[in-house]
C-alpha cells in the first residue's frame, strides 16, 4: 500500500494505548528497568522511555525468545506422548518505540526463518506483532545504519513510523495494512501538511564505509589468515555480540526436564567453539579468527547472496556490548578498505 501521512499527538497516542489494552493486546515498549532501558510490557504511554539512542536489547525476543519450547513430552514406561504448543494462545502484541534499525531487523529475521520453508513458531509470533517505530532524533558514535542500507528515519519493517516534529507532536507514516488498522483505531487523525519536513527532525548519521565494497572484499579476504587473526585477536568468544544483535538468529535445540520435559530452541552464537564442534572432536572452525570471519561473512556475504538481505542493520549494539571494545564498524571499514 501507499504510505499515508498523518499527524498524531501524545493525547491521541495515550488513547490508543488504552484502546489496545482494552482489546487485550500486549504492548512492549522501552522502559526504564533499574539502570537499563529495555523492552518490557507497559500499559500507559507514561511508562515509555524514548530518551535513549538505543535500548540494551532489541525487541527480537517478541518473535524469537531467548528460550522457547518447541513442544513438551512425556517419556514413561515405553510410551511417548508429545504435546504441541497452542500457538493460538500467543498474545496480540504492539511493539512501540523501536528505532528504525530494530524495525528493519524484523525483515532480516523473516528472511532467516522463512527463506526456504516457513518456520511455524516464528511466523505465528510475527503474525501477531504490529510494529510502531519512532525515528531517531539522535545517534551515537556506534550507530552506522546509513552504511547498512538503513537510516534514522528508515521505514523498512515498520507498520507505522513516528517522527517527533514538535514536543508531543508526531508525524505518523502508515506503511502497512496492519498499520492502517492500528491507526484507524484513533478517530479523526489529521493529514500531515506537505510543509512538514521529516528530515529536519532526524539525526545525522554519516556513512562510514562503502557497503558495496564489503562483500567482494570479504570473498577476496577469506583465505587471508593473517588478516582475520589480526582483526580478532582480542575476541574472547563470549558471544555478547550475538546476544544483543537484533538480526542474529542462530539457535540450538536442547532437551530439558528428563523423561517428562520440553524440547527447547535457544539462542546460540557462531562465536562459541562448541557451535560447530563435531562429536569426533573435529571442528571446521577450530579457532576464534575463523569464527569472527564467519560472523562477518554470514551477515555481509552469505545472507545477501542466499537470502537477498543484509544480516546487519547497523544498530551498533554489538560494539556497545563488546567487553574488549571490538567495534564492528571499524572492522567493516578495514574490510572495505583492504587492498585487493
Amino acid at each position: 500500500m501507499e504510505t499515508e501521512k498523518k499527524l498524531i499527538g501524545r493525547g491521541e497516542l495515550e488513547k490508543l494505548f488504552s484502546h489496545w489494552r482494552s482489546k487485550g493486546k500486549r504492548i512492549l515498549a522501552p522502559k526504564k528497568i533499574g539502570a537499563k532501558i529495555d523492552f518490557a510490557a507497559v500499559t500507559t504511554l507514561e511508562e515509555v522511555c524514548l530518551d535513549q539512542v538505543q535500548t540494551v536489547q532489541s525487541a527480537k525476543t517478541a518473535v524469537f525468545p531467548r528460550v522457547e519450547e518447541l513442544f513438551s513430552f512425556k517419556n514413561k514406561d515405553g510410551r511417548v506422548e508429545i504435546r504441541e504448543r497452542d500457538q493460538g494462545a500467543l498474545p496480540e502484541t504492539v511493539i512501540f518505540g523501536l528505532r528504525p534499525c530494530d524495525d528493519a531487523a524484523f525483515a532480516v529475521l523473516k528472511a532467516i526463518f522463512n527463506w526456504d520453508s516457513q518456520d511455524p513458531l516464528f511466523s505465528a509470533r510475527m503474525e501477531k506483532v504490529a510494529v510502531i517505530g519512532v525515528s531517531c532524533p539522535r545517534a551515537d558514535e556506534y550507530c552506522f545504519c546509513t552504511s547498512a542500507g538503513g537510516g534514522p528515519g528508515g521505514t523498512t519493517g515498520s507498520d507505522i513510523l513516528l517522527t517527533e516534529i514538535a514536543p508531543g507532536e508526531y508525524l505518523a507514516e502508515i506503511i502497512s495494512e496492519k498499520g492502517r488498522v492500528l491507526a484507524g483505531e484513533a478517530a479523526g487523525l489529521k493529514p500531515c501538511p506537505a510543509s512538514v519536513s521529516k528530515e529536519a527532525h532526524l539525526a545525522k548519521v554519516e556513512p562510514v564505509f562503502a557497503l558495496e565494497r564489503v562483500a567482494p572484499a570479504l570473498a577476496r579476504l577469506f583465505d587471508d589468515n593473517a588478516f582475520w587473526v589480526e582483526q580478532s585477536l582480542r575476541c574472547l568468544g563470549c558471544g555478547a555480540c550475538a546476544y544483543v544483535c537484533p538480526a542474529c538468529a542462530c539457535f540450538d535445540i536442547q532437551d530439558e526436564g528428563g523423561g517428562s520435559g520440553q524440547r527447547l530452541r535457544c539462542w546460540d552464537s557462531c562465536g562459541f567453539g562448541l557451535f560447530t564442534l563435531h562429536t569426533s572432536g573435529h571442528n571446521p572452525r577450530p579457532v576464534q579468527s575463523q569464527r569472527w570471519r564467519q560472523r562477518l561473512m554470514h551477515k555481509f556475504s552469505y545472507m545477501p547472496e542466499r537470502q537477498q538481505v543484509l544480516g546487519c542493520v547497523g544498530c551498533g549494539r554489538c560494539s556497545r556490548a563488546c567487553p574488549v571494545d571490538m567495534n564492528i564498524l571499524e572492522h567493516l571499514r578495514s574490510v572495505a578498505e583492504a587492498k585487493p
Binding site: 515405553g78 511417548v80 526456504d116 542462530c250 535445540i253 524440547r263 542466499r306
Partner: protein, 281 residues
C-alpha cells in the same frame, strides 16, 4: 504444516538392533503411527534428526535404501549424550525422528554407468543406502565395485552384508584393514583405502564410471589424487559432508560451508563443487 517444519518428530518404534562393532549399532525403526509410515518417503542420500526424549537430537543419515519400505535404519557410534542414551535402548522402545532432509545421490543420472563405491570406517552407512538402492535395481547399472576399509577387522561394519556382497557375482567387493589391524584369519587386503584403491586400479576403469567416496577427511584427501590419476573427472566423484547440525532445515546457522548449507545444498556434493567451496568442513 508439515511435521518437518514444526520440529515435532515422528514417533518410531525400535524393531531390531544389530551390534556392528563393540560401540556401533544399527537400529531398524518403524513408524508408531501406521498412516504416517505409509505417507513417508525418502530418497537415498538423505538424513534425519533422531532423538531420545529428554536427552536431545542427533544427526545421522538414513542407512537403509528407499527400495526397502516400511522401515528406516540408522547406524551410529556411541560417542556423545544422545548416542549413549540410544545405545542403552531395547527393541520396542520409542524414539523420535525428523526428516527426511537434504539432497540425494542422483542415481537416476547414473543409470547405464559403472559404479565405484569407496568407504572408510563408520562412513559406510550413507553409502550402504545407495549401494542397496542400486543393487535392488541391479539391471539398470554396469559394473559395481565396492572398496571398503576400516582401522581393524573389529571396526568393519555390516559384516553380514559384506559377506553377502562378497558372495555375489554381480558385485566386486574389495575389503581392507589398516596395516596392523588384521587378524590371523583375515582374507581381505591389508593397507589404507587409497593405497588399496591404487593397487586395484588396473581393474577399475574411469570411463563411464561414477565414484562415490565417503570416509574420514584424511581418507578423502588421499583418495582424490588416486581417482584423478585414474582419469575420474571431479563432477563424477560424489561424497557427503557431515557438519554439525541442529535444525536440518537451513535455519540454525552452523552447518554452512561458505555460503552453502550442508543440510539444504548437501549432504551430497561432487568434488567439482567442493573445489569451489572453502575448506570449512
Amino acid at each position: 504444516m508439515s511435521m518437518a517444519d514444526s520440529f515435532k518428530p515422528y514417533l518410531m518404534k525400535i524393531e531390531q538392533i544389530s551390534d556392528e562393532t563393540p560401540d556401533v549399532k544399527t537400529m531398524r525403526l518403524v513408524f508408531s503411527d501406521e498412516r504416517e509410515g505409509k505417507n513417508f518417503s525418502f530418497r537415498t542420500g538423505q538424513f534425519g534428526e533422531y532423538s531420545v526424549f529428554g536427552e536431545g537430537e542427533c544427526t545421522f543419515c538414513i542407512a537403509s535404501p528407499p527400495t526397502r519400505q516400511g522401515y528406516i535404519e540408522c547406524t551410529f557410534r556411541k560417542a556423545g549424550r544422545v548416542t549413549s542414551a540410544l545405545s542403552g535402548l531395547e527393541p520396542g522402545e520409542i524414539i523420535g525422528f525428523r526428516g527426511p532432509y537434504g539432497n540425494i545421490f542422483p542415481i537416476s543420472d547414473w543409470e547405464g554407468k559403472n559404479l565405484l563405491f569407496i568407504a572408510g570406517g563408520i562412513a559406510l552407512p550413507p553409502m550402504r543406502s545407495v549401494i542397496w538402492n542400486v543393487l535392488d535395481l541391479r539391471e539398470r547399472y554396469g559394473n559395481i565395485t565396492i572398496v571398503y576399509g576400516a582401522r581393524t577387522v573389529a571396526d568393519l561394519v555390516y559384516k553380514r552384508e559384506l559377506a553377502e556382497w562378497a558372495g555375489r557375482s554381480d558385485v566386486k567387493l574389495i575389503s581392507t584393514v589398516d596395516p596392523g589391524g588384521e587378524t590371523p584369519d583375515w582374507k581381505g587386503e591389508i593397507g589404507f583405502v587409497p593405497t588399496v584403491l591404487g593397487r586395484a586400479a588396473p581393474a577399475i576403469a574411469s570411463r563411464d564410471t561414477v565414484a562415490v567416496v565417503c570416509g574420514p577427511p584424511v581418507m578423502i584427501k588421499f583418495t582424490f589424487p588416486v581417482l584423478t590419476k585414474l582419469g575420474f573427472k571431479p563432477e563424477n566423484i560424489f561424497t557427503t559432508l557431515e557438519n554439525r547440525m541442529k535444525c536440518g532445515v537451513g535455519k540454525c546457522g552452523r552447518c554452512n560451508v561458505g555460503k552453502y548449507f550442508v543440510c539444504k545444498d548437501g549432504p551430497v556434493f561432487t568434488f567439482a563443487q567442493l573445489k569451489d567451496m572453502p575448506q570449512e568442513y
